[in-house]
Symmetry: C2
Subunit: 214 residues, 2 copies
DNA sequence: GTGTGTGAAATTCTTCACAGCG
DNA sequence: CGCTGTGAAGAATTTCACACAC
């Protein structure tokens, strides 16, 4: 059976899933599409449609059981599988991500950190095992790492990505300010460029002024 | 005159804009839609269409002049306007963003950092002026800050965002693992939740297996 | 009243196809 | 040949509208 969920819906569902985890932890038992929508910034009918792509689960007239909906999304989206992750590039940003607390309990344990600068491996204060960058391929294989987080300088992005992919990683979140080329049939990549985010916001702001002349 | 650019196209154009800046710096004079597409991971016709939303600029048969195209995008998207930014939350992630080198020359200078913990303001090593969180509203007003970067714990997200908005910020990049509610007619917000990114990749990976059973 | 589920309509976005240029 | 520009076609996504349940 093939699950046919539009891409934007799938991303929203991941957000909903994370929200449900919080609501469950807070002891909330039931939630409506309206309420979910208000929290994550979407319309209620969008949320209902998204959830409905995964099959019927709510109770008409009385919203969703938080635990049941969370487990349903987890199951249908295959999120019950835990995956090992690693961080490549242990500058300030990479180190911050390596020690990022919200990872704990998320199912995406960071099991390795890499940097080409040996000094950084020795001075870092963390319980995560650290390795020199030239061992990426081997360590990724040995530790069965499926997700990579890239936080290297622009100039190192392509090589670091190549090594991760060679080691067998299935997904990469790229925080470096450069893109890299890859075989999109083999791996999923998300590019997060902080400057680009500010640029996009800036464009929205400029374009939102009615008197902006062209 | 209203510029009618689809949202995904606008985001891609910001990526193209950043790429052109690099190409110009490298001394590249001309570039084709095919080449841009290969680098940023899109089809050539998509790139041509995106650029074309901003009006004619290329030379048929010989690609785009890098400088001219960059300036054109900058002008049409209102990116020539420099905007002051600030970082709220100076934990590891916030500090890393505060000192993030790629900001220099990007036009989005970080002119202030905030934290509710006074100790963090004193121990941080940076040339960016730091302030206690209760001064957000005033400092944002005084320094004419238009963009805010949120890197606070989940529990502090709503209040920090409220203060930024009260101070007059027009856009927020939210790196905190919680969402907050806001008046979407007044401000633009981008949520970047690192755990959500890994979750989404994980879902793609799971769903890409043909034998994934439901 | 407030809710969900869902096919159909509407909209947005992408891809195609090709004219015309170097 | 490869290149851009662009209207038209096509696909993807969102929104609507309403049946039905609490």
């Amino acid at each position: 059976m093939k699950l046919n969920v539009p891409n934007p819906a799938l991303v929203r569902l991941c957000t909903v899933y994370r929200l449900l985890d919080k609501l469950v932890a807070e002891g909330v038992l039931r939630v409506s599409s309206t309420r979910i929508g208000r929290i994550i910034g979407a319309e209620a009918h969008t949320i209902r449609k998204d959830i409905n792509y995964l099959g019927e689960i709510g109770e008409i007239g009385s919203g969703y059981d938080t635990v049941r909906l969370r487990d349903h999304i987890r199951y249908r989206l295959g999120l019950d599988k835990k995956r090992n992750s690693c961080v490549v590039g242990l500058g300030r940003l990479g180190s911050a991500i390596l020690m990022y607390e919200p990872f704990s309990g998320s199912g995406y344990t960071i099991v390795a950190g890499f940097d080409s600068n040996i000094n950084k491996l020795e001075t870092a204060i963390t319980s995560v095992p650290l390795f020199p960058a030239h061992e990426i391929v081997d360590v990724v294989r040995e530790k069965n790492i499926e997700l990579g987080i890239l936080a290297v300088p622009a100039s190192a992005a392509q090589e670091a990505a190549d090594r991760l992919i060679e080691g067998g990683v299935r997904g990469i979140v790229n925080f470096s300010p450069a893109m890299f080329s890859y075989d999109s049939s083999k791996i999923y990549v998300t590019h997060i460029d902080i400057v680009r985010e500010l640029t996009a916001l800036s464009a929205y702001i400029s374009l939102s002024f009615d008197n902006f002349k062209h």
